[in-house]
């Protein structure tokens, strides 16, 4: 009898370990599988050019998703990031164009634009944070509101059309997106930098621990001497900062901003976070998973570009399916049953 229970215990433990491993390794395995499929469909998938392109394209969503990981881990949500990116690009372009006369078309103007982008990102994040914490409005509603505001602002700035960056500044700014360092494009380096900082911040600092605690149970966090409002506001500021970084590397790509800039980025960023294993209701966050999630989303689009089997127009369908399957797999409570009466 004792023997039997012991072995059953052992089995249960082993099963649990496999489940946990699958949970954390899942996104990595999925990405690997996608890469194999991509290669089998078209060996050009594995060409250096395609892989760097893929990484560069993931950088925007990836960087924003690192910020979103903090917000979601602390129990919040930010729907405004796509519009925020568009609004920041718009303001950057207008200010840089207007600075040509005083600062010229060289590096100072670009630096001015970047510095401004960072300030705007922090400010926009602070507004979201303050409205959720001090204003005590649900994050979903606050950021739904700011999403609409930022989106309409960029349309207004562009007068319904497109804002274009001065051609000469574009020449100065261009390398930020198109040049490489040690074989990797700059956006990828920014992505790597943001990812490492994000990982350290979430996993190694008291701040990261506080984010997790707040998302897990806000009352416990409050009773544990954590300044809940401040930590939550900071997560939105980090999110805003990440949007600034993404915008800074995005603007030189097209050199323009319009009402369609950054559309649906918020959903892609949230999708990347969720695919990566972060829990949507908060309390558990994984930066590594988020990065894999961003790579998975970009890889799907990339593979569809390479094959005729599935129309490229179905990109959204594939992404949607991946998100749903990822969350289904992460569910730990597969057993259904009634809670017995005590």
């Amino acid at each position: 009898m004792t023997m039997m229970t012991a072995s059953e215990d052992g089995e249960a433990k082993a099963a649990k370990r496999v489940a946990v491993d699958f949970k954390t390794l899942g996104p990595a395995l999925a990405l690997l599988l996608l890469c194999v499929i991509g290669y089998l469909l078209n060996p050009a998938f594995a060409s250096e050019g395609n892989l760097t392109n893929l990484l560069t394209r993931s950088a925007f969503i990836g960087i924003i998703a690192v910020g979103a990981t903090f917000v979601i881990t602390a129990g919040g949500i930010d729907l405004s990031v796509g519009s925020m990116a568009a609004a920041i690009s718009g303001v950057m372009i207008i200010v840089m164009n207007n600075a040509v006369e005083t600062l010229g078309t060289g590096v100072p103007t670009v630096l001015l634009g970047c510095g401004l982008a960072i300030l705007l990102g922090i400010g926009a994040g602070w507004i979201n944070g303050a409205l959720t914490t001090k204003g005590k409005i649900e994050a979903f509603i606050v950021t739904l509101g700011t999403m609409g505001i930022y989106r309409s602002l960029v349309t207004y700035f562009a007068d319904g059309g497109t804002l274009s960056l001065n051609f000469d500044i574009r020449g100065t700014y261009r390398p930020v997106y198109y040049d490489s360092f040690l074989g990797l494009p700059f956006p990828v380096w920014v992505f790597i930098g943001v990812a490492i900082c994000g990982w350290l911040l979430l996993n190694r600092t008291a701040f990261g621990r506080y984010c997790t605690a707040i998302g897990s149970n806000e009352a416990v966090a409050k009773y544990s001497a954590i300044n809940v409002d401040r930590v939550k506001t900071l997560t939105y500021i980090i999110q805003g900062l990440c949007v600034s970084f993404a915008t800074i590397i995005y603007v030189p790509r097209l050199g323009s901003a319009s009402a369609s800039t950054g559309v649906l980025w918020e959903l892609e960023a949230i999708a990347a976070v969720i695919i990566g294993g972060t829990v949507l209701k908060g309390g558990y966050g994984r930066i590594g998973g988020t990065i894999l999630g961003a790579l998975i989303l970009t890889t799907i689009g990339n593979i569809l570009n390479f094959t005729d089997m599935i129309s490229n127009y179905l990109n959204g369908t594939m992404q949607g399916l991946i998100i749903i399957v990822a969350v289904l797999l992460q569910r730990s409570d597969w057993k259904f049953g009634k809670t017995p009466k005590t």
């Binding site: 600092t205 008291a206 009352a219 009466k341 005590t342």
Partner: protein, 507 residues
């Protein structure tokens, strides 16, 4: 006439009911019957088994042995509120209303009337309006529950029960959260229901109220049935005695005499905060000060205000002889003042996390080195805490929610002690834990005080207040009604102050 409606008229009867939760027995062969048109009060200390008995009477729990008789016939009550169909309605202490729905929607929830496939809103509204008029409640069926006061919500619960043709209405401390005027309104309601032939089971700690409203009174103590008597045979004092009547055992550590000349480490003067109406007291070094009183008397509110968990309206707080401004929880912690919540599952521990992050969460700044959390130090702290507080977990990586209540409580204590406080406030130190762990916690508290730490124990369990405290402050309705020392610390005295039968003029 009264003689005629004797035992034979019992609507529901519990016969020799025993109940254990796992290995822990909570009721021992308890019997009780409720007749039509009577108010039957159920009284006893916290943990006496009142709630369990009520839940068995309403089908939420099954008895381990014994039987329930409905109209004289043995019955097995359907679970999870299904007994409402039989006319037995339990009104929980934490009311069971959908906050965002209207009064009408709540009253008819789950049995909406329809006409031609659509909701018969007009009909339901008329019906609810009739009930509200009968009860004399001045709200509209279209009002949202979230806009009502607690007393009004309580009335809505009663309307809900009445609309379901309740024959037996079981109420768990319905007056605990009501003001005196609200209580009067509530009692008028109870009288009406009674006149209508409804049998009412009523739990309350306010013995004066019990005396005023009840026809019969059943007293429970430690899960045992003590007596059932007509209310005219009992006074609040005799009730208190019967509820208590027990010798203290060596559950409690030997008491070290407190040094009455020790420095005052905490002085509170005329503190006003939500639920606190002018509280003053002092706490000496190495002293264990008990805070007793009924649930909702403001004990927790006082210390939440002091520790920065709730806003302070007015009054002064001095730490170690120096007046301090209103603090945040972090500042209080850094000043050596720590509050251990009574609600360990909702406010104390992160149930979905492991022990280590839980242990260090409160004192986390202590573990930060070069901006990073020193995980090695955290591991060592956990090893130390497991040894010091005897936390028993089969696997140290288990999530805290899977630990037993006693181990959770020890972990919570360890978490608070991780910041080495000079003043610890422990709210309900032994709620819902077994006797063995209780004893460990009492000894730990005594050891802390012997080391010179000042401890405040807030507890609704009088034996433990009496067993471990040097002094006891009794609160009632947001004020301290008396401070007891020495031989005056006994259950009757405390009960008198807590129930408002006695009051010390402190100012």
């Amino acid at each position: 006439m009264e003689v005629a409606t004797s035992a034979s008229a019992a609507v529901i009867e519990a016969v020799n009911i025993s109940k254990s939760f796992g290995p822990v027995p909570v009721l021992f062969s308890v019997s009780m019957d409720v007749r039509a048109g009577e108010v039957h009060a159920l009284i006893g200390e916290n943990g006496a088994g009142k709630s369990t008995l009520m839940k068995i009477l309403s089908g939420f729990h099954d008895p381990t042995s014994g039987q329930i008789r409905l109209d004289g016939k043995t019955a097995v009550l359907p679970p999870n509120g299904g007994a409402e169909q039989l006319g037995i309605v339990l009104i929980h202490q934490e009311l069971n209303l959908a906050e965002q729905m209207t009064v009408e929607e709540n009253v008819f929830l789950g049995r909406e009337t329809r006409s031609r496939g659509f909701l018969d809103r007009a009909g339901m509204r008329r019906a609810v309006q009739t009930y509200l008029d009968e009860i004399g409640l001045d709200i509209s069926p279209a009002d949202r529950i979230s806009d009502l006061t607690i007393a009004q919500k309580q009335m809505v619960e009663i309307v809900k029960a009445v609309s379901r043709n309740a024959r037996i209405l079981i109420m768990d401390e319905p007056t605990a959260v009501l003001t005196e005027e609200e209580t009067d309104v509530f009692f008028r309601q109870v009288e009406k229901l009674k006149a209508g032939g409804v049998g009412i089971v009523f739990v309350s700690h306010k013995l004066n109220e019990v005396k005023a409203i009840a026809d019969r009174i059943t007293i429970l103590r430690d899960g045992q049935w003590i007596d059932t008597r007509p209310s005219q045979d009992l006074t609040p004092d005799t009730m208190a005695q019967m509820m208590v009547g027990r010798e203290l055992s060596d559950l409690y550590p030997p008491m070290h005499e407190a040094d009455v000349d020790a420095d005052l480490v905490l002085e509170v003067d005329n503190l006003k905060a939500p639920g606190v109406h002018g509280v003053s007291f002092g706490l000496r070094k190495g002293e264990i000060l008990g805070f007793s009183g009924l649930i909702g008397s403001g004990r927790t509110a006082v210390f939440e205000a002091i520790c920065g968990l709730a806003p302070i309206e007015s009054g002064t707080i001095s730490l170690y002889g120096q007046e301090v401004a209103a603090m945040t929880v972090a500042k209080a912690r850094d000043a050596g003042l720590a509050y251990l919540t009574k609600d360990r599952k909702e406010k104390g521990l992160l149930l979905d996390k492991k022990m280590q992050p839980n242990l260090t969460l409160f004192a986390l700044p202590k573990f930060v080195k070069n901006f990073a959390v020193n995980q090695r130090a955290e591991e060592k702290a956990l090893e130390r805490a497991i040894r010091r507080f005897d936390v028993r977990a089969r696997d140290p990586n288990v999530t805290v929610g899977k630990l037993s209540g006693g181990n959770q409580q020890k972990l919570l204590l360890a978490k608070i002690m991780e910041c080495d406080p000079k003043i610890v406030i422990i709210d309900e130190p032994t709620r819902g834990i077994d006797v063995g762990t209780k004893q460990q916690i009492y000894h730990f508290i005594a050891a802390l005080a012997a080391e010179g730490v000042s401890v405040v124990v807030i507890s609704s369990e009088m034996p433990e207040i009496i067993g471990i405290c040097h002094r006891v402050a009794v609160m009632r309705e947001g004020q301290i009604t008396g401070v007891l020392t020495g031989d005056h610390i006994n259950e009757n005295e405390i009960m008198r102050y807590a129930a408002g039968l006695k009051r010390e003029e402190l100012h």
